[in-house]
């Protein structure tokens, strides 16, 4: 009977062939390491956030006189409300953690390079959507941090030329963050995750067009690919087990470690807390914002710092195939960049003093430097590696890649002449 139903569907909709092509038989490099688990994990966390979010929304009130109390209601009276809320609040941190690892993987293995530029850029779009979603969600509990975080960030739009003040008021729907702001943030916080789901579909279509990269950084021959199922379904599920253990430790034993204590005080528009800090996942970017002594400059620097990743395919023109694995200098640069992120995070967390300001400014320069110097450093590195002698297989690969680029250029020119 089930067989007949599937046959009936297949005559009208490409169900079996789709599952076969995109999932069970989808060719996957056999050498993928556990660093390739994090995309799948991001998808799982997205689903967790959507499910817990929808059930929270059944009890949450988006009204400045009710929202703080509705969170207390969820925590104390709603059946398992505490679990839903802790899962959702912890899930936001887990989401960023997973995405940051996913991005670091991509940077390390050079998976942003041709032909995966579009895949990387759709990922950049997903990062922006995620940041916007988390930022708007953070206002909903209407605590002191929620209120002042939203105030400071909406105020950044003052840097817009000519219309700065009007834009800030338009975003808030009021002269200050208020009822109008809360209700629109709730509406958009509900909407954005579904836009994210749409963007994930685009991300996956791009992935399935160019296929996964792999730790060698070299596209494997067909014989070195294995079907996704069962090899990677099982590997992803195994990783999921580990992820859920760590996630549960936070949800059940350390839920408050990720919630700023000041957010347990209801929002007070007349009093800013003495030390306002964003959520940990925004700290490095916040540090960059604070490091520039001028408002417009700070906003531009912060915006750029998030967008720098998008330039990677242009900045890194090294012809050495593979990622940091085969590029010693790029590898050092990669680890220094991670270190710099940690320094920036620390600076973003501490109250501003002259000393942390200076550290922050140096770290900001290093941050942009680690992107903008890539073209120069990678050229020097390439020359040095070639002089030192590369394995013949790598040289052959570089030559064949140069050839395809040349052929593409020729074809392009020929087409140009015909037109």
């Amino acid at each position: 009977m089930p067989g007949r139903i599937i046959k009936w569907i297949d005559q009208r909709f490409p169900l079996t062939s789709f599952v076969k092509h995109e999932l069970t038989d989808y060719p996957t490099p056999r050498n993928l390491s556990y660093w390739w688990n994090f995309g799948f994990l991001a998808g799982v966390v997205l689903m967790l956030q959507v499910v817990t979010g929808i059930f929270l929304a059944m009890h949450y009130r988006a009204d400045i006189s009710l929202s703080f109390d509705s969170i207390q209601h969820i925590m104390r009276e709603v059946n398992y409300g505490w679990l839903l809320r802790y899962m959702h609040a912890t899930g936001a941190s887990a989401f960023f953690f997973v995405i940051f690892v996913h991005m670091a993987r991509t940077l390390y293995y050079g998976s942003y390079r041709a032909p995966r530029e579009l895949l990387w850029w759709t990922g950049q779009g997903l990062l922006l959507l995620l940041m916007a979603t988390a930022f708007m969600g953070y206002l909903l509990p209407w605590g002191q941090m929620s209120y002042w975080g939203a105030t400071v960030i909406t105020n950044l739009f003052q840097a817009t030329p000519f219309f700065g003040d009007q834009i800030v008021i338009w975003l808030r729907g009021d002269y200050t963050v208020g009822d109008a702001t809360l209700t629109r943030f709730f509406a958009l916080h509900y909407l954005f995750p579904f836009i994210i789901i749409g963007a994930v579909v685009i991300h996956l279509v791009a992935l399935h067009t160019v296929k996964s990269s792999n730790p060698s950084g070299i596209d494997l021959a067909a014989k070195d690919n294995i079907p996704f199922h069962p090899y990677f379904t099982i590997k992803d599920l195994y990783g999921l087990g580990w992820f859920l253990i760590v996630y549960s430790v936070f949800v059940f034993f350390l839920p408050d470690s990720l919630i700023e204590p000041a957010n347990n005080i209801p929002a007070n528009p007349m009093q800013t807390p003495n030390h306002i800090v964003p959520e940990w996942y925004f700290l490095p970017f916040y540090a960059i914002l604070r490091s520039v002594p001028n408002l417009v400059g700070g906003v531009v620097a912060m915006g750029l710092s998030v967008m720098m990743f998008a330039f990677m395919p242009f900045l890194d023109r090294s012809r050495i195939p593979g990622g940091a694995h085969y590029r010693p200098i790029f590898k050092i640069q990669f680890y220094l960049f991670l270190l710099d992120m940690l320094v920036l995070g620390y600076v973003g967390y501490t109250p501003p003093t002259n000393q942390t300001l200076l550290i922050g400014q140096i770290a900001t320069l290093c941050y942009f430097g680690s992107f903008l110097l890539i073209p120069f450093i990678s050229r020097i590195e390439e020359r040095w590696l070639v002089r030192r002698g590369l394995p013949p297989a790598v040289i052959a690969l570089m030559e064949s890649e140069a050839l395809t680029i040349e052929q593409r250029r020729l074809k392009h020119r020929r087409r140009g002449e015909q037109a």
Partner: protein, 170 residues
């Protein structure tokens, strides 16, 4: 069918495509207006634009914070020393004489919103300190230390009696 009505008349077809696109584009843009405008402050929000304050309870050296348009406004009853210190300089980052920032020297009325990113500065020592990123303001509400670029804003207000002001209307 005459000659210039035939489908081969691409000039005419291109013109029609462009004209239709333009009209459609204008229509879409016009349809966006109400949606964008709906996000601006509604009329009840606009209605809370003025606040009346009775100053009689504020002793010299005292500060009161009142809400105007939902924003905190600091009303300071300045002491003669504070007035003297404020008139002695014009400020450094955004120079402005004290006399232009007050209507009566003993009453300073400023919006308590840091001009950097909108935190509420704390009254500390002489003037205010903003804890968000460390800006400082003097007893005239002028910025003395960045990152704030501008002095605390003086809202439009006027005295309706010796000890009563209305904030929101000059």
């Amino acid at each position: 069918m005459t000659e210039n009505e035939s489908p081969a008349n691409t000039g005419r077809r291109n013109f029609l495509i462009k004209a239709t696109t333009a009209v459609g584009g204008v229509g879409v843009a016009a349809a966006c207006v109400p949606f964008v405008a709906s996000m601006n402050p509604s009329s009840d929000v606009l209605a809370k634009a003025v606040t009346e304050v009775d100053l009689s309870g504020i002793t010299p050296g005292g500060v009161r914070t009142v809400a105007w348009q939902g924003k905190p406004v600091f009303i300071v009853h300045r002491t003669p020393e504070e007035i003297q210190a404020s008139t002695a300089t014009n400020g450094v980052i955004d120079p402005e004489p004290d006399s232009q920032r007050v209507q009566k020297p003993e009453w300073l009325v400023v919006v308590g919103v840091c001009t950097h990113m909108g935190c509420v500065p704390n009254k500390e020592g002489p003037g205010w300190t903003c804890h968000c990123h460390g800006s400082q303001y003097d007893d005239s509400g002028r910025v003395t230390r960045g990152p704030a670029p501008k002095n605390l804003e003086v809202p439009p207000y006027h005295f309706v009696a010796d000890n009563k002001i209305i904030i929101g209307k000059a």
